[in-house]
């Protein structure tokens, strides 16, 4: 996991990137790098194209214009915003976490290997959800569901973890726990974190900030907090 940290080649490199659907950019003029071990927070108002950017970074949709380079074989885990369909899906916690290991192996294998099952077990222990193994996903609380999806993402995240609004809908206590957990993954496990938030307080723990919106910004947290982009954003947040 830490091998790439030494040589310093960026995991993701974006130059003049515009993202959007059907050729219509939702956000444009984005240039930034994600280095191994980074903690990048992507902020911006609702509807500024943050999620579209995330989907582009994941390779789910093509960029409208500009360049995006991903390190080959970047083991990226993804914590999506929950969808309605998942809320009534019959699946056990174990089935969901294990599905994160699906593409860990090099060759195609129809069934999970012992190693993959061990990874899933270890990750569940790390997330403190071992006791929920046989429980049905849809019967868990919001915070528990989020942990299950995070465990699944971690099974796939050999290098980087992308999180889309990881605390939306969670209460303040669970939110705090979630941020601590993400912080721990970054600092102690050396995992690269890319997190989307519409909440400026999420910036607190980040090393770098990308602001998406009318005025875009990319730099360290300290630089960001002094920038006009941050001031405008904070003003709007207060107005709400």
């Amino acid at each position: 996991m830490l091998e790439d940290t030494k040589n310093g080649t960026p995991l993701i490199e974006c130059r003049g990137l515009a993202v959007g659907y059907d050729g219509k950019p939702a956000a444009s003029g984005l240039s930034f790098d994600v280095e191994p071990g980074d903690y990048l927070c992507i902020v911006g108002e609702n509807g500024s194209g943050k999620s579209t950017l995330m989907r582009t970074l994941l390779g789910l949709i093509p960029p409208v214009s500009g360049e995006i380079k991903r390190a080959p074989g970047a083991g990226i885990g993804y914590l999506p915003q929950q969808t309605e369909a998942q809320r009534d899906f019959p699946a056990s916690v174990w089935e969901i976490v294990l599905s994160g290991c699906l593409n860990n192996g090099k060759r195609f294998r129809p069934f999970y290997t012992r190693v993959q099952k061990q990874i899933a077990r270890d990750t569940m222990a790390q997330m403190g959800i071992t006791g929920l193994k046989k429980r049905c996903y849809r019967e868990l609380s919001g915070g528990q569901q989020q942990r299950v999806l995070l465990a699944r993402a971690l099974c796939a995240a050999e290098k980087a973890l992308l999180l889309d609004e990881p605390v939306s809908g969670l209460d303040p206590k669970v939110t705090e726990d979630m941020y601590k957990l993400i912080n721990h993954l970054n600092r102690d496990d050396g995992l690269t974190i890319i997190m989307i938030s519409h909440d400026i307080s999420a910036v607190e723990r980040a090393g770098k900030v990308l602001h998406v919106g009318k005025t875009s910004f990319f730099g360290t947290r300290e630089e960001y907090l002094r920038s006009p982009a941050a001031r405008g954003f904070m003003k709007e947040a207060e107005a709400e």
Binding site: L60, P90, S92, S99, F111
Partner: protein
């Protein structure tokens, strides 16, 4: 009561009844496997659309005068499945609207063709049996049974080998795609399997009732069971049981096979709803 069993035993000694039971069990088993996926991916209408396409293809094959219709119907249905999925992804016509268009179009065209060109003295009977499968299951040849067994084996093998991928793509397509699962390929595979299942089940319940065979067992199982594996196993067992019961009842009571099986599925759904309610209260 003894009389009923004697009657059943007597029926079961006939070749054509044995064929019907074999094909019925296989078709019911296969159609239940992908039920959960279709329901949860909001794909159930694709199954419905394809079944109407299969009806249209059947009508065309009958008009041309083919003796063995199944391969043609299979090819057309699989082709339409691929087409539907493609158009759903790339055009501006919404997926469900496209499917509604194709399915109603195929239904109308099929009936029109049968009406204009049919030399059969009993046209409405032919149409009715294609739509509701009322008699076709009792007129299967050995070749039909082998074809059905082959297709079923293929469906089951593919389903088992790709079970984990099908789960991943069903539960969260974006995540699967982002982490390197070829979701487009598996969606295509699911659509092709559905097409095969529809052709298989057409013999059993006819093209209008196929969706019931795909959806009811899955919905019933989802009422009670909580993991993907248990839901899948339960819906397979349930679907086969309902098919066997339905065929038995239809033989004894002289009712149409297809609708009797679907009625059995509906009763099972009612029971599972009730069981689910009781279970969640306990």
């Amino acid at each position: 009561m003894n009389g009923v069993f004697e009657k059943l035993a007597e029926y079961l000694s006939y070749d054509f009844v044995q064929y019907a039971v074999i094909v019925g069990v296989l078709a019911a088993l296969c159609s239940s496997l992908l039920g959960v996926t279709l329901v949860l991916k909001r794909f159930s209408f694709i199954g419905d659309g394809l079944s109407h396409v299969a009806f249209g293809a059947m009508a065309v094959a009958a008009v041309i005068g083919l003796t063995n219709e199944t391969p043609v119907v299979l090819a057309v249905t699989v082709g339409s499945a691929i087409l539907l999925l493609r158009t759903g992804q790339h055009t501006r016509i919404r997926g469900d609207a496209a499917i509604a268009m194709i399915s109603v179009g195929a239904l109308a065209l099929g009936y029109l063709l049968m009406n204009i060109f049919s030399k059969s003295p009993n046209l409405s009977g032919d149409v009715c049996s294609t739509l509701f499968g009322s008699t076709s299951i009792l007129t299967l040849s050995m070749a039909d049974v082998w074809l059905c067994a082959g297709l079923s084996a293929a469906v089951i093998i593919v389903f088992v080998l790709f079970y984990n991928r099908i789960f991943a793509v069903t539960f969260d397509e974006d995540f699967a795609r982002a982490t390197g699962t070829k979701a487009g390929l598996y969606n295509l595979m699911i659509a092709v399997i559905v097409a095969v299942i529809i052709v298989l089940a057409m013999n059993l319940v006819g093209s209008l009732l196929i969706s019931a065979l795909v959806i009811f067992p899955a919905l019933s199982a989802m009422r009670v069971y909580k993991s993907f594996l248990s839901v899948t196993v339960c819906s397979a067992v349930l679907s086969v049981s309902c098919a066997v019961i339905g065929i038995a009842v239809s033989l004894v009571a002289d009712t149409p096979v297809g609708s009797t099986i679907v009625a059995a599925d509906m009763v099972a759904f009612g029971i599972f709803c009730l069981a689910g309610k009781i279970k969640s209260r306990a």
